[in-house]
Amino acid sequence: MTMLESAAEVAGRMRPSIRLAGPRWRAVRNFLLAMLFLSPSLVIFLTFVFTPLVRTFWLSTYATNPIGRPTVFVGLDQYLRLIQTPDFAYSLRVSLLFALYTVPTTILVGLVLATLGNMRLRGIALFRICFSFTIAVSGATASLIFLYLYHPATGPLNYFLDLLRLPRVNWLTDASTALMAVSLTTVWLQIGLNTIILLAGMQGISDEFYEAAKIDGAGFWASFRHVTLPLLSPTMFFLLVMDTLAALQAFTQFQVMTKGGPMSSTTVVVYSIYREFYFNGQYGYAAAQSVVLFFIMLVLTTIQFGVLERRVFYQ
């Protein structure tokens, strides 16, 4: 190979890359430009979401000193401890029961309120505000109000029971009713968001479907069952996933109303996590509980997507 030939070959190889240099340079430039816009968010996510997630896994394999510094690598010991102590299984059961009490009830009540709010009547906007305002209410204030609604001696709920000549209930102080009482508060808190989203879903259903149903002689119930419900199923599925995740992460109500009691009947997993790391300084043990709950939520969401989404009717 002569010098000249190799030079020509080099030039030949160069030429297409020179032609490419324009678009390629632009691709690099665009990427850097996009990163400039994205980096503030990415830095926050990296610092406060992704790194901590990894650190939670890592922390769960260490014993820690009282200020949370990992000291001794213990491998899976914390997880073994979780399996061996009945407390964790119990708190898991409480968490799942809580989700079972709150999620279907919230969606059902939301469905009733959204149906009422979807009627074309004068003044309906005011009713919609009444049905959705709890989205603006905080967990702490709702818990305080319900604490007094549930007051065993002077609370209105027991007063209503008295009026109906029914036996009084020790709502929050009785281990058999406390979880139910906290659930009721939670349903009330979540009604706002659920009603808003269901109402939007209902308004997204085209009138044509209802007119067709009317022509077929369908009354209110028939068109609700055969038009509204199937067309609303994607919205209800979305809420099922969101509400389940929210229920398994609920904390404020338990902290303000019951502190996990009476007799740990309301010690949900997140409350147990909080107690272990914040009061007992058991960071590794609490991290192991977080990891288990994280995977349970992941599995539940996957199941919901895998099993239920197939039954959802997309328009």
């Binding site: 996009a34 968010s41 996510f45 309120l113 049905f131 603006a136 209410v137 996590i273």
Partner: protein
């Protein structure tokens, strides 16, 4: 005949309004109860049967809650915290949403997925390291500690991106020809057009932060730095406050968010459901 139809319609309407009113009473009752209780005298508040209709206007409960509980200080703290988070979220989400909507770059879908995945990670999976990090930075009991973890929002980015996508690309092309850079285009064209979506995000992030409980509970321990939700919950713990005063405090804490909701509910609802349902 037509008279019978109108009569029937009238009866149906009466029935429907009765249903609506009954449902509204049940949903509103807890807040109504808090309001009437906050107007009772301390003696009335402890009686049985409970007074469900106000007998007087004991507004001194409100001044007492404000003075004795330092609720004003807590309100100020919460307002500062929520404003920082709101500004941060609106700014950071606008920048990120702009990149997703207006810049063609490699791995865009992957980066978008990274953003969305943060919505799937529950707080309990990150809270312990975050708490330890803020402590080790000596940011406990500071506003930067309260706000920093919440400055970015995947939900908000997604919401704004959906809106930005409705802005015609021609506008961007024309601006490029005029030599207008991306940042200037974002500030002078996109932001004014996207004001409704930005408003929705601002209201939503303010509400969320103002109502936050666990994070401020973990990282504030000094009285002066407590936020309003922690402060109000402590009112009840301390037992030195009568029930009517606690409820006056609850009403004070609720007032800003309820007002914000009533003023902005249409925009908030439209914005949130566009993000949630179409997503």
């Amino acid at each position: 005949m037509s008279q019978r139809v109108t009569l029937q319609r009238l009866l149906t309407n009466i029935f429907l309004y009765a249903l609506l009113i009954a449902a509204a009473i049940v949903v509103v009752f807890p807040v109504y109860y808090a309001l009437t209780s906050s107007l009772l005298s301390t003696q009335e508040a402890a009686t049985y049967p409970p007074k469900l209709v106000p007998t007087g206007l004991h507004l001194e409960n409100y001044t007492e809650a404000l003075e004795r509980a330092p609720l004003l200080r807590y309100l100020l703290n919460s307002t500062i915290q929520s404003s920082i988070v709101m500004l941060g979220q609106v700014t950071l989400a606008s920048l990120a949403a702009y990149a997703f909507a207006f810049i063609d770059f490699k791995w865009k879908n992957l980066v978008f997925l990274v953003f969305l995945s943060t919505m799937m990670i529950p707080w309990e999976a990150t809270i312990i390291p975050n708490y330890l990090l803020i402590r080790s930075l000596k940011w406990a009991d500071t506003f930067q500690g309260l706000a920093a973890p919440y400055l970015a929002t995947a939900f908000g980015t997604f919401l704004l991106r959906q809106f930005f996508l409705t802005i015609p690309k021609d506008l961007r092309d024309a601006a490029t020809i005029d030599g207008c850079g991306h940042l200037r285009f974002l500030l002078t064209v996109v932001v004014p057009l996207a004001r409704p979506a930005l408003g929705t995000l601002a209201v939503y992030s303010f509400l969320q932060t103002y109502n936050q409980y666990l994070w401020p509970l973990l990282i504030t321990s000094v009285k002066d730095m407590r936020t309003v939700q922690i402060g109000i919950a402590l009112l009840q713990d301390e037992e030195r406050f009568a029930f009517n005063i606690v409820m006056a405090g609850v009403m004070i804490v609720l007032l800003p968010t309820l007002t914000l909701f009533i003023l902005a509910n249409r925009q908030l609802i439209r914005g949130l459901t566009a993000g949630a349902v179409k997503g």
